[in-house]
Symmetry: C2
Subunit: 401 residues, 2 copies
């Protein structure tokens, strides 16, 4: 009897979903087991998972995500039973591929992408850096989860190289704006939440309905050109400073795998308005690592986030905005209380005033060409073990000028 | 010989494209002739327009728009020749439907939606209203076309009812935010530009390449809840104040029909950076009418817009952001120099300080339930005649509370 190639972080209680191609084959939905992936479309053909065969044969997760929470739960149960079932072991092994043989695809076709700003530490740090003479938090910050729409078409899968963007910038000391490659290129360590289930325009989703639309999470790096952003963002918000690329992990961890990671939110004071109250409010005890060129430089704890994912989703729809399967909302930069828990270089280097040292003797305020940034994360699983989230990584290529 | 049912505004030099369903039939691409539409999928089957049959049998214009400028030009030539050809008249008449028999669909599947802010008058008016003690225009305004991403999934077709959104607002005089139906619901009279042709992430589109990606324009009403917007928009821009609904005309006028409408831009001073310079800069001499409950209250002239559509597109991609067919960018509110040329109620009523009178004896500062707002427009066509743009209309329904 051959064992399955599970690892502690990617065992049978985790099973994140992705989409992979192998050689010239069409993309299929796969689930991760250790450093392998099992082809779910192929596996379901042989078993009693027929309800998902069509969905798992698609080039993204959307058709599966559209099936809704009862299908997600049944599919997970079927998959866990199938993987535990000794009599089906040969069928599983026949559809198991080393990750090295696969090319991972963007797991979802992104409908609308929204980025929130839900870390009090991050918002406070940014406020102190940009508005040193004013209140760190804007007056609305504790009343609503601030967010804005980003560019769906430039969400890319982990591993995609990031070309340094060009654009306009004007430092306060400059008399005129100039054009060129960004000189303050940054990361933002975030979680992205994948939404399933269309809703009608005009029909808000309440806090207590929100979890029915939360399929899963993936690590997310909202690359940010701070110099471009600083010059453009008043009064209508970030645009080109963000829209060149945002990287999503290849693996979407289902919310069902994160049950043990659910934790209480920090106290919300003042109490938010009733539409942001409900029974289903939670934080997530997900420990993130920010790694540059192989060296961990920060460990942002998602558990410090102020707003619940369900509050973000309820807020996003309270005006009647409809949801579409494939909508993606990100948490905003995760920054903890401590200096080495900050989720952006802007904060880690305090806007360049305090460059930080790397093991190779160099220092960083912002990203240099060739830098590779990888976000990793783990969360409590069952029985005291931990589960892993799929990494999101990207390398900075020089600007094309 | 039966004449075609053309009108002056919708004749053979206009021919906007839309998507329509009739009774239980699948949606088809159609072109407008007066108050009729000709089913292009059906017509092309009979003639030598076979290159477009598949595209015109789709439920939106995207497949056709994806074919690019040489196909757009050839299709338009073929269609004009076919409509002029007496020997094909019976085939045309057999595929002609009164608009009253058709249900118009959202003409494009919207990929990313960006809203610009390209009217100097509008930006100045808004600046004076919101920042009476500061400069009306932000320092960046004349250096770049300011824009932001909006919600693609809530772009709706003309004729869709608009449910008054609920949300948080806090007037400067309030001590706490409150929740409820928007009490400052507004319009924004804009043009929307439909983009065709995917580009790779990392490959900016220059000014001189931009027109190859501009398929056509449709009137656009960017409904805006000013009270929600005012409370939420600092620091990351408009979100729920806009995302409940944005209405696009059912008819997309091809850029080829607007050749006679091209006009010089207002002088741009200071000269923008080189990436915003080029030979293909133009304004559009499109005369818009804002009508509420049948009464025209404003006539915004698009010719006053500061930035060229090609500058907006070049700016949007200069950081390497890729384009996707179905991307939609709107101009921002069109406001002329005169009071009765303003494109929003915010400006027409000067933020409610100067309510304007309607013929029924009522006054308006912002929209009331039951109000119907329609934007119409005409532009110079060939031989001194004018062509029409398809209207965009919507009625306000009470909030669902």
């Amino acid at each position: 009897m051959t064992d399955l190639p599970t690892t502690e972080l990617f065992g049978l209680d985790n099973l994140p979903y992705g989409v992979a191609t192998k050689a010239c084959h069409a993309p299929h939905v796969v689930a991760r087991l250790g450093d392998h992936a099992v082809d779910l479309a192929g596996l379901a053909t042989d078993a009693d998972g027929a309800a998902w065969i069509d969905a798992w044969s698609q080039p993204n997760l959307n058709a599966f995500v559209a099936q809704g929470p009862s299908s997600w739960a049944a599919a997970r149960t079927w998959l866990q039973e199938t993987l535990h079932d000794q009599s089906r072991r040969d069928a599983v092994l026949a559809r198991l591929h080393p990750l090295d043989d696969l090319t991972m695809q963007l797991p979802i076709a992104v409908a609308d992408y929204v980025d929130f700003y839900a870390s009090e530490n991050h918002a406070t740090n940014v406020g102190r850096i940009f508005r040193p003479d004013g209140d760190a938090l804007t007056p609305n910050w504790k009343h609503l989860p601030i967010g804005y729409h980003g560019r769906s078409g430039t969400v890319v899968v982990s591993g995609t190289d990031i070309v340094r963007p060009c654009g306009q910038r004007k430092a306060p000391t400059d008399t005129e704006p100039t054009f060129g490659p960004s000189i303050r290129l940054d990361i933002e360590a975030e979680l992205g939440f994948v939404v399933g289930g269309d809703t009608a325009v005009g029909s808000p989703v309440s806090i207590d309905e929100a979890s029915d639309h939360l399929f899963g999470v993936g690590l997310f790096n909202d690359w940010s050109a701070r110099d471009i952003q600083a010059w453009e963002y008043v009064p209508l918000g970030p645009f080109l400073g963000k829209s060149f690329a945002s990287s999503l992990a290849a693996w979407i961890t289902p919310m069902a795998a994160l049950r043990a990671a659910k934790t209480a939110l920090p106290k919300q004071d003042p109490q938010p308005l009733p539409y942001l109250q409900g029974d289903d409010l939670f934080g997530l005890d997900i420990a993130i690592e920010v790694e540059i060129n192989g060296q961990v430089v920060s460990r942002p704890p998602y558990s410090t986030m102020y707003w619940s994912p369900t509050q973000m989703l309820a807020h996003m729809t309270v005006n009647g905005a409809g949801l579409r399967t494939g909508d993606l909302f990100a948490s905003g930069t995760v920054s903890g209380d401590e200096k080495d828990e900050r989720g952006s270089f802007l904060e880690l280097s305090w806007s360049g005033k305090e460059p930080f040292a790397l093991a190779d003797g160099s220092t960083r305020s912002f990203l240099e060409d060739g830098d590779i940034v990888t976000l990793r994360a783990t969360a409590p699983g069952t029985d005291g073990a931990r589960i892993g989230l799929g990494e999101v990584t990207g390398r900075i290529l020089p600007a094309r000028t």
